[in-house]
Symmetry: C2
Subunit: 304 residues, 2 copies
Amino acid sequence: VKFEINILGCGGAMPTRHRNPSAQLINIQEHYCLMDCGEGTQMQIRRFGLRMQRIETIFISHLHGDHYLGLPGLLQTMHLLGRTKEVTVVGPPQLEQLLTDHFKLASTKGLRFPIQYIKTQAKTAEVVFENKKFSVTSVPLKHKIATTGFVFREQEKPRRFIPSAAEEFSIPYYRIDGIKNGDDFIQEDGTVIPNKEMTLDPEPALAYAYMSDTAYKESIVEHITGVNALYHEASFTEENRKRAKETFHSTASDAAKIAAMAKVKHLYLGHFSARYKNTDGFVAEGRVHFEDLTICEDGMTITL
Amino acid sequence: VKFEINILGCGGAMPTRHRNPSAQLINIQEHYCLMDCGEGTQMQIRRFGLRMQRIETIFISHLHGDHYLGLPGLLQTMHLLGRTKEVTVVGPPQLEQLLTDHFKLASTKGLRFPIQYIKTQAKTAEVVFENKKFSVTSVPLKHKIATTGFVFREQEKPRRFIPSAAEEFSIPYYRIDGIKNGDDFIQEDGTVIPNKEMTLDPEPALAYAYMSDTAYKESIVEHITGVNALYHEASFTEENRKRAKETFHSTASDAAKIAAMAKVKHLYLGHFSARYKNTDGFVAEGRVHFEDLTICEDGMTITL
């Protein structure tokens, strides 16, 4: 069962030759989410051979251009490719108006598919999306404008039924779903077979957290504790600490401190300022606080 | 003296792996214009090693996403790079509001540089921009929404002063500008030196026409007659004639007929629909009507 993240863009506000603005394609058990949609996202999807029409749900963290300006073009291309299936867009309240204005000016009769809007707020954490496979919680961040991170968390998985138990205890097929959900089994003669003899513990529910853009914010920690992977922005290194403060961005060590406090399994850094020629400083400063750290590159795949 | 066009994107409404949405950088005697600004234009400028901050004037043909969605990001990056010099934006009336809304939502205190807006209309041709080096005329096109093409025409150039004439006729330096503009020269003894003995004919004033997006429209011809280079959209070949009609786009033969009637020096085709795997059909169908034809590629430079 897949939980996979494709990094489509992990550059900062100014794209560089090698890093596009923010966007990630997240595949959770074959439900595809797009996390942010900076300018050029549709071209990156094509470039990396991914399938745009599989996207069902789009999450936008905030309305700075490098996080959403690819969205009108992406939706337009989905339309031109013949899409009829609904898209859900989760993001700041003004996003609906922005997209509506764009499509009205372009005198598009309307996209061939419906868009369902879910509005985020940046005051308190809340579940903004949920289905049988996973839930998504928005987390208030600290940035110049209202911004939310998102935690993608698989639902608890069923216990794993031991195939040989079916014959051993004469279990009819229609009882197996119940047993996977924890039922014991009562045989015809009244013997109770405890659930533990027929099942193994479930696979762990995996979780991924996307925290961008944000200054250092400790209240994030409680919402991301123990996640398998944390993507945290790290626009700067310490030499630009002052600039980080002014622009409400994090340094690599800010991000690594959050990762350490939250005891995440692995930290991924991105959203680097275009001023840096390489990322050595980010690795060095981040590892002081948290060892399991990876620098993101466009085109990279993270498998949980 | 340069007149050069860099093709930043010559794809159609849907970008492909090899062709970005519409954008061209035009250098006329070191005045840099941007012609259309599809999504990803700022990345293309970087990719091809061109200089964004040299751009002084931006022309937008119409408000379909593939012609303007790169503009907010480009202006934002100019700002982040420290620009203070004014930018002139020439385009449809609603463009100012679109950009203002974007920057307001992003709560940008304001760009560090002023934008001067010049509004186009798609009813009649008119000069929309002019300086000492060149003029730009908007030309109404035939598309689903109000759209204008643009003709970039160098001003008539001064006559070329023959250096040896200065000594031969004892011409003081301060008279040379007048002579370049056609003055005769009167020597101290009253002898009149006719202008032709001191100058050569001027270099020809060059012209470039950008006509995209548009269905076949004969009234374009009078505005582009004799231009050195015509970029004309050719979204389709004849097998998709019906689709061209529905979407108000041209076929390769439409474009070539216009080029032939206007007796342009050279025709450049672009804005190809993503459905075509190669451009052989465009060449074949276009050459039936006009021989001097080139298929545009992203990254290509046209020198007039």
